[in-house]
Amino acid sequence: MSEKLGTESRSEQTGDEKQDTQEKEAVVPERAEEVKLKAKYPNLGQKPGGSDFLMKRLQKGQKYFDSGDYNMAKAKMKNKQLPSAGPDKNLVTGDHIPTPQDLPQRKSSLVTSKLAG
């Protein structure tokens, strides 16, 4: 709920000085959530604020079909199947080769807004 001045640290909120640091870690919900996330994605980088992460944010993740990339990747893979597009938080541009099936349908602009009734 609302606090008057600054933020209270977690230790003040729990108010129990007898807890040792190990217990405190378990009590801090953020840490518990971090443990959960790392268990699910063991390859997750240590620092989420790194330049890869921000670069992805800058590009907004839009990718378009490049026939050159596609054909080269096909040649490389030979008989293997191309990896299909899926949600991947640590995507580095250039590694993922979009296929024609992956592309979002380009939407047409609508003329009237229904908001206007």
Binding site: M1, S2, E3, K4, L5, G6, T7, S9, R10, S11, K24, V28, P29, E30, R31, A32, E33, E34, K36, L37, K38, K40, L44, Q46, K47, P48, G49, S51, L54, M55, R57, L58, Q59, K60, Q62, K63, Y64, D66, R106, K107, S109, L110, V111, T112, S113, K114, L115, A116, G117
Partner: protein
């Protein structure tokens, strides 16, 4: 049992919705920005489809005093179209990121609207007369045979049904490599700024082919990139001062008199972090999604994922007030990271007297905090709970233990129903709340 919050009851006054009753939401109908003009007479909304809809408040009439100031559609137009940047293989969304009004200086209204790349100045004006009696064409517009004209007449202006037209007066393009997140009109009313992830540009309203770059945080080597600009705003009275917030939870105040390029800040606002709280999520949830000056110009308010903070411009080392918006989400950060909700950008607003602040949350909830009494309330913007003239009931999220009858548990919250955009009338207790494709306008009930 009704609960009155600080003596003001919030009443459903009207809502407009797009789409059909079966709740299927067209992507392009999602409202992406809401803004009152300086008098509160007009309310503009922008949506993902690039359209702007402006509502106008009805004049109060003595005949129908109970219909005090309802908002009706005044004008609607297509502001931005989708574009394609062939060089970078990027689709440029037509979604309106921000609308900002200019103060009214004549009969017409002016507003700025922006998508990711281009800012446009729109003029909205009324026409209630039209010229009639041309010599060279008849009333239908068909050209008359000049040889048949034997008499000269003077065209006259005759009244017609009111028509509201929106025309693009300026287009400010090609100045942003990255995505524009903010625009802000300067108090000099001659200039405005536009901010993207790495740069902030200063424009003169009259000049579209040039803009001054006033902030550039792009590193020489992009691999050294550690933070991006998330929001920016001019001081309400001092035309030389502006602030911008970052993805690392910091705010910089800059003075344009100090130098042409404001890469060196005048003030740097950052709250010291408790190292025992540090986790993988710390930086992400500290990213500031919105920054707003108070009307007085003495304070700034910032919104990060879980809190709203009020800072005194004279104190850089910590905020003077911190309000928990939905702290119960701290134990849900893992799944919120997985479904990308942790990156949602919530906005925050001041009321006219800077005594109350408001921001949105999930499940169509929005929160208000009274800075004086320290009381807060959670309200819901939903059709099911809003009948005409009905008073909003405060809502409560149950965080553990026994759930009471009208409480909702954290696990039952609908994270697809997020209230990112809200607006508060500049002088009255009227608020506009955008819930996906629905716009709600609430007003306090005066006895």
């Amino acid at each position: 049992e009704l609960h009155h919050f600080w003596g003001t009851r919030w009443q459903w006054r009207g809502w407009w919705h797009e789409g059909v009753e079966d709740d299927s939401v067209g992507e392009s109908d999602i409202i992406s920005t809401v803004e009152f003009n300086h008098t509160g007479e007009l309310l503009a909304t922008g949506d993902k489809g690039g359209r702007v809809v402006i509502f106008q408040r009805e004049q109060e009439s003595k005949n129908q005093p109970h219909r005090r100031g309802e908002y009706n559609v005044y004008s609607t137009f297509q502001s931005h179209e989708p574009e394609f940047d062939y060089l970078k293989s990027l689709e440029i969304e037509e979604k309106i990121n921000k609308i900002r009004w200019l103060p009214q200086q004549n009969a017409a209204y002016f507003l700025l609207s922006t998508n990711d790349k281009t800012v446009k100045l729109w003029k909205v004006s009324e026409r209630d007369k039209r010229p009639e009696g041309y010599n060279l064409k008849d009333e239908d517009g068909r050209l008359r045979d000049p040889s048949m004209i034997t008499m000269l007449r003077v065209p006259v202006l005759r009244p017609m049904d009111l028509m509201v037209e929106a025309t693009p007066r300026r287009v400010f393009a090609n100045a942003h490599t990255y995505h524009i997140n903010s625009i802000s009109v300067n108090s000099d009313y001659e200039t405005y700024m536009s901010a993207d992830d790495l740069r902030i540009n200063l424009w003169n309203f009259e000049i579209t082919n040039q803009s001054f770059n006033i902030v550039d945080i792009k590193p020489a080597n992009m691999e050294e990139l550690t933070e991006v600009i998330t929001a920016a705003e001019f001081h309400p009275h001092h035309c030389n001062t502006f602030v911008y917030s970052s993805s690392k939870g910091t705010i910089r105040l800059c003075d344009m008199r100090a130098s042409a390029l404001c890469d060196r800040h005048s003030k740097f606002f950052e709250e010291p972090e408790d190292p025992s709280n540090r986790s993988f999520f710390s930086e992400i949830i500290s990213s500031i999604s919105d920054v707003k000056f108070s009307h007085s110009g003495r304070y700034i308010m910032t919104r990060d994922y879980l809190t709203v903070k009020v800072w005194d411009l004279n104190m850089e080392n910590r905020p003077i007030e911190t309000y928990q918006v939905h702290d119960y989400l701290r134990s849900k950060l893992c799944s919120l990271y997985e479904n990308d909700c942790i990156f949602d950008k919530f906005e925050c607003v001041w009321n006219g007297s800077d005594s109350v602040i408001m921001t949105g949350s999930y499940n169509n909830f929005f929160r208000m905090f009274d800075r004086n009494t320290k009381r807060d309330v959670t309200l819901e913007a939903s059709r099911e709970n809003s009948k005409p003239r009905a008073i909003l009931k405060p809502r409560k999220v149950c965080v553990g233990g026994k759930r009471r009858k009208d409480e909702i548990s954290v696990d039952s919250l609908d994270f697809s129903k997020k209230i990112l955009h809200t607006a508060w009338h500049p002088s009255e207790n009227i608020i506009a709340v955008a819930a996906t494709n629905n716009l709600y306008i609430f007003q306090d009930k005066v006895n």
